[in-house]
Amino acid sequence: MRLHEYQAKQVFSDAGIPTPASELAGTVDEAVAAAEEIGYPVAIKAQVHVGGRGKAGGIKLVDDADEAEEAAEDILGMDLKGYTVDRVLVEEAVDFVNELYVGVTMDRGEGKPVAMVSTRGGVNIEEVAEEDPDAIAREHIDPAFGMHPYQARKAVYDAGVDREIARDVASVLTTLYQLWDDRDGADAEINPLMVTSDDDVIAADAVFNVDEDALFRQPELQEMEEEGEFAESELDQKADEYGFDYVRLSGNVGIIGNGAGLVMTTLDLVDHYGGEPANFLDVGGGAKADRIANALDMVFSDENVDSVVFNIFGGITRGDEVAKGINQALEQFDEIPKPVVVRLAGTNWEEGMEILNEDLVTVEKTLESAVQRAVDYAEEVEA
């Protein structure tokens, strides 16, 4: 779960990391008022979960009220890579001489956290990591002990940060790690950490991704997530409401299955047989009839979908429940909106086949034949 910039800044600032003065605005008037209060120049920044906002026109620097009004008008309501901007952060523009990168994440290969510092901040850090991995100093942290201050200093020295600001940067990194640890962070990043001509450091951007699985013990972040849902698409909101792992893709064959690996395999098979997957939708383990019906509702709601393939291999999930759910979802239609192909295997699949209303769906015995059939249906619709 990713916090919006304004939320991450709040969390960082509360922990003691310096951030620029800023205010959230939902209308042009609010934005101008906020700019007047903060004092020019200010940056007006779209609050949506996409990278490269600046290049896409989602961040503008302004020097007076007229410019602020114009920028807020341009940005509010604009479409940024599929997201409609409906809030902006109005923020004090910091006069800087240098930009650094500071981050903490989980190194999955090592199974432990890693703290990172680089003097090449202000740019796409993934590109830096690829082109010049040595430009990022890394320090692995033993999760049993947490980060010692010397480790923060070491990372800062290894990165070649100027002496005048090394202490402050180490202090920011220590705080960032503590925050990441306390708040169940997945990734915490400041890019750029700006250095002013007075040798102050200030977090000009803030990223905080929270481990979804730990939200139960982070009530404050859970609230922020709910408050931040304004920028989600209708389908994403529906997936949240139903509690599905759902990823929208660009094709037209809708896919529903159980278990991440099997659903990914179904996607790959659609591609293998010449079709294009419209989505990834995992109903999870042990899904009951209602959940199956909700899954069909989700995929039918995607107007790009031309056909649907259901691939269930029951372990905990039972074929009879799946069949009930499919019937339940389809019997409400006078005419089935899109052809549905069903493949059931594993626990109680025979009971499921007896229950399944075969007037409403196409049944296939194997994974391969089911996918092929769904791809054929989608092609017929497109033709």
Partner: protein, 290 residues
């Protein structure tokens, strides 16, 4: 010899009094698994599915001479349950079924694991089965058939799919290990492959990987260098776009292009492990390797 579990394994179920714990304990016993005790704080003295329950894992292990534990504890408490099991010397295998344990908790469990000689399988995995002998976890026993092909996979349902295809073509399995789809797991592909390499009941191994991380690439290097037992591979997630998490917490292709399906396929194939495009092709490859 078999891998990790056999008919002599003496098993504790942590969380045996919960819905899942109870149901799957019954299933495991029905399959023939030697479940000797349950462990649930505050529930000591009870009995579930004919099995005595103890308050602590240590008590259960000592009283019933156990060597293995299966964890069905809810995510908020599962990290603690793993610590408890790893703290008991008698236990050399801990299988954690629980899905959704906070990653930082798993990171600490993993850290603790390095100080022990035990194996931890999972979390977020379907378990381990030696067909005809015993199963630990939630795998549907009826699709498995005893035989000579080992299986290791990050995904539960994909395991079932491949096993079903193997069984229908008359190819039985020695042991199947679901290692789990989380970003941090105990037993890795490399460790599982090493166990199969040493197992005289395993003539070939199927390895089902997926996008995300570099475990499959490491496994490929291991296969290249050490494996004499042939390996057939499968990689899920070829169509996954970068930056999107595909269900499994570990299944995400990073923006910088590592952890892609193609890099994993290339690594396995250059290590001499053929990678099938479909589960059926994987079984074709296994037939060729045997």
């Amino acid at each position: 010899m078999s891998v990790l579990v056999d008919e002599d394994s003496r098993v504790i179920v942590q969380g045996i009094t919960g819905g899942e714990g109870k149901f799957h304990t019954e299933q495991m016993i029905e399959y023939g698994t030697n479940v000797v005790a349950g462990a649930v704080p505050g529930k000591g003295g009870q009995e579930v599915a004919g099995v005595p329950v103890y308050d602590t894992v240590a008590e259960a292990a000592e009283a019933e001479d156990a060597d293995t534990s299966v964890v069905f504890v809810p995510p908020a408490f599962a990290g603690d349950a793993c610590f408890e099991a790893l703290g008991v010397d008698e236990l050399d295998l801990v299988v954690t079924i629980t899905e959704g344990i906070p990653t930082q908790d798993v990171s600490r469990v993993y850290r603790r694991l390095q100080e022990t000689d035990a194996y931890l399988v999972g979390p977020n995995c379907p378990g381990v089965i030696t067909p005809g002998e015993a199963k630990l976890g939630i795998l549907p026993g009826n699709i498995f058939e005893a035989g000579r092909v080992g299986l290791v996979s990050r995904s539960g349902t994909l395991t079932y799919q491949v096993v079903d295809s193997l069984t229908q073509r008359g190819i039985g399995q020695s042991t199947a290990i679901g290692i789990g789809g989380d970003p941090i797991i105990g037993t890795s592909f490399v460790e599982a492959l090493a166990l199969f390499e040493q197992d005289d009941k395993t003539d070939a191994v199927v390895m089902c990987g997926e996008i995300g991380g570099e475990d499959e690439e490491e496994a490929a290097a291991y296969i290249d260098e050490y494996m004499t037992t042939p390996v057939a591979g499968f990689i899920a997630g070829r169509t996954a776009p970068p930056g999107k998490r595909m269900g499994h917490a570990g299944a995400i292709v990073s923006g910088s292009g590592t952890g892609t399906a193609q890099s994993k396929i290339d690594a396995l194939e250059s290590a001499g492990a053929p990678v099938g495009d479909t589960p059926e092709e994987v079984v074709d490859n296994v037939e060729d390797l045997l």
